[in-house]
Each structure stands twice: as structure tokens, then as C-alpha cells.
């Protein structure tokens, strides 16, 4: 694996973590909709 490819994979894996944390924050702050309890 080239260093550039390894770096790209590393970046993508970390970006997926940031996206996940963003989703968690959104779920935490989200108001209950009618479909939810």
C-alpha cells in the first residue's frame, strides 16, 4: 500500500467518525416527531 493510499484510508476512516458524532449530536438534539414515542 502506498503512503498516499494509506493516508487517504486514514482520512476517510476519521471522516466517518466525525459524521457519526454529528449524527449522534443531531439525534440528541432532535425534537420528537409524531411517529416517535
Amino acid at each position: 500500500m502506498t503512503p498516499q493510499l494509506a493516508n487517504l484510508i486514514d482520512t476517510l476512516l476519521n471522516v466517518s467518525v466525525f459524521v457519526f458524532v454529528g449524527i449522534l449530536v443531531w439525534l440528541f438534539l432532535k425534537k420528537d416527531s409524531q411517529g416517535e414515542k
Binding site: I9, D10, L13, N14, V17, F20, L24, L27, F28, G35, E36, K37
Partner: protein, 495 residues
Amino acid sequence: MFKNPILLLSLTLTGGVAVWGIADTAGLAAFSSTVVGTMFKSRGWFIMLTACMLLFLCIWLAFSKYGRIKLGKDDDEPEFSTVSWLTMLFAAGMGVGLLYFGSAEPLFHYKTFLPYMDPPQAAKEALFATNFHWGLHAWAIYAAVGLIIAYFSFRKETPNLISAPIRHVFGNRGWPRWVGGLSDLMAITAIAIGVGGSIAIGVFQVQAGVVSLFEFEKPGMTLSMIIFGLLFVAYLAPLTVDLGKGMALLSNTAMTIAGCLMLFVILTGPTSYIMSAIMGGAGDYFSRVLTQGFQTLTFHDEVAENWFQSWTLTYMVWWLAWSPFVGVFIARISKGRTIKEFLLGVVLVPSVFSIFWFGVFGSIGFFGALKTNVAILEVVETHIDSTTFFVLEHLPFSVLTIGATVIAAFLFVVTSVVSAAFVLSMFSSGGDLNPSTKTKLVWGVILGALGLVMIFSNSIDAVKSIIALGAMPFVYIVLLIAVCFIRELRKEVCK
């Protein structure tokens, strides 16, 4: 039985891993090691942050206004007295891992740290690292998952499933439905692979004990297979009948043996040396534990980086792998307790016990390395499985204590696998508290096959990688159900 999609998917997934491992053990071990290595390198910081966040969540909840909320209806009383509840918590924490790693882990770290510092400092840091791996962070992971399961099942009366908080808070249509299904699947995979690893560690431990007792020259795979066969029969039989109380008795027997062993080592070993090491280790641990959780050894060399990945990160993922299983067990015995009581009991008491355990077995190992000429470091290097027995061989009544350790290791694994097969059957049958015998037996066989794969790998490092691979996705699920839990708590208090 085969109409349930989660059951079918989970059996296919875990069965597939088992078949792959049996057909190409080296290939599976190499694949796990590569994937886990990449994940640990990129997301190591996030795994440590997750463990720290869960510990802070436990501390905050215990001392917040939510601490008074009961795990059950407001008038529910605890089913077990505090003493027997704490004893059962010990039983949950006292797995075969403690017997295996008691002396081996502190000595392994000591050997790794020696080139970087002088021997007394290396021993101190090695004990601290071991206590860190088995202490508050580990139990906070268990406690958080157990608390969430207990809160939703006893207070909100949802099924005993990992997906229950998600479905309860966000409804059961659209994304919560498939994310919930995926969570149950991930929990099942993490438990199955984690318990498979425990079977392998148990077999390695029992084998090392048998070799030490009967002085076999080259035991090889035949002895491993004989021990595995005995274990397989021993845990498959109880799955066909309801042996709830019998299992508790076996688990308590194993725990009593382990407790007596610890006491025996304190009394027959260098007692003041051991007691001083426990006290020093406890002080060191509690003064540095919170900041250590945020350390990822970023600026150290490759040796330190590899050590951090193969020990600290692996342990944190390991606790995550076991958390749905131990969490369900802890939840079931904690009905009627307040959140504060639950958290203080589950996080603090077993952590203190672990500090004692490793203080005893670690310090007697250091005593051998620092004060005598016994070749204990060579044993750690060449036969890490035998370290505990090597220590016991140098104390009185060694045949008796080694025999007792072998029995305790065997019992710990049998009780773990029987309980795991029950929890897996429950998770894969929609939270049914009385899953069918057929489902339990199928899980028993799958767990055995996974254990066999890890025994074939014949390496504790390969076992750790395969467990980490199975548990990695569960990091996300724990955080997701924690968000559901806090949302529900806030809603309840606002009402």
C-alpha cells in the same frame, strides 16, 4: 426457529467466520490483524475517547438528579441483598482472563518497559498499565451497557434487546427499525466471537496447568483437542436443561477458588511486599487514571505504538465485545436498585477487586524478577500461558493450587459459555426470556466452532485480533444507545 431473520443472519455471519477460520486459520488471523491494525491506527483515539466518555457518563449520572431513579417501578425493591449482589458482580468480573493474565500481564509490560526505564519504575508502570486495563474504564463500559438495558427493560418494560432503546425512543419505523436490527446483529457477533476467544484462553490456561501438573514435554494440539472436547460436553449438557441455580453454584465455586487462591498467595508469598505493592499500585492508579484515559502514545516509537494497540486498545474493544453479555447479566440482578447504587456498585467494587488481584499476582511476579534468580521473564517470553502456574510452582502445595486453578479456569469457561448461549438465543429470538433448547444448542455449537478456530490459531495475539474485529462496530452502538438513554432520562425527569 428459522423464520427469525436476525437469528438466520447472525447464525450465517458467525457460522461463516467459524467455517472460514477452520478452513484457513492463518488467513483469518492475518486478515483480522491487518483490519484491526488499520482501525486501531486511525480510530484508536476515538475508542479511548468512547471509554472515557462512558466513565464520565457513569460518574455524572451517579451524582446527578438522575441518580435517584430506580431501575424498575418506583416501589420495586432489590431482589438480592447488597452483599450477594456485590458477590455476583465479582463473579461476572472474575472471568478466566484474570487467572490467565494475573501475573503474565504485569510481567509482560515490565519486560516491554525495561529498555525505557529502570527496573523499579518499569514494575510500577507495568502494574499501573494492568490496573488501567482492568479497572474503572472496563467496568464503566459494562456498567453503561448494563444500566441502559436495565433501565429500558425494567422501567420502560421493553424487550431485553440492545435495539430496545433505539426502537423505544425513535419508534419502530424507517431507520430505527433497520439500525435496531443491525445493532442486535452486531451485539450477537461481538458476544459470539468474544466468548469464542474466552473458550480458547480457557483451553490454553487449562492445558498449561495440565502440562505443569503432569510435566508433559510437548503437549501439542492433541491435548488441546482433548480439553476442548471435555469443555464442549461440559457446557453443551446444561444447555438442554434449565440449570439456572446450578450455574450460579458453579460460578460461585470458581469465584471462591479464585478468592482462596489470592488469599493463599498473600499468606504464603512475601506478604509485606505484596501488601505494599497493592497499596502503592492503588494510589498510583487512582491519582492518574482519569488523565491516562486520554493518552494514546502519539509521540512514542513504533514499539510503544504496537504495545498500545495490542494491549490498551485491544482491552477496551474487548470490554465492548463482552458488554452486551455482561450487561444483560448485571441488569438482571440489579432490578429495584437506584441508578446511583447501581453505578457505584458496578464501577467501583469490581475495579477495587481487580486492583487487589493484580497487586497480588503482579507483585509476586515482580518479586521473582527483581529479588530472586527465577527465570520468570523467560517464561513470559516463551510460554505466557504458563506464567500463573510457574508462580504457583514456587509456592507451597503447588500440586493442590495448580489443580484448583485448572478447575476454576474450566468452571469459569463452562459458566460463561452456558450464559452466553442463553443471551445469544435471547437476543436472536426477539428478547424471548425462554428461548428454545434447539436455539441454545445451535449457539453452543457455533461458540464451540469459534473457540476451535482460535485454538487452531494457537496464539493469544491472533485470539485478541479476531475478538477486536468482531467487537469494533459495537463501539458505535454503545454510543447510540447511550444517547437514547439520556434523551429518555431527560424526558422522564421533565414530566
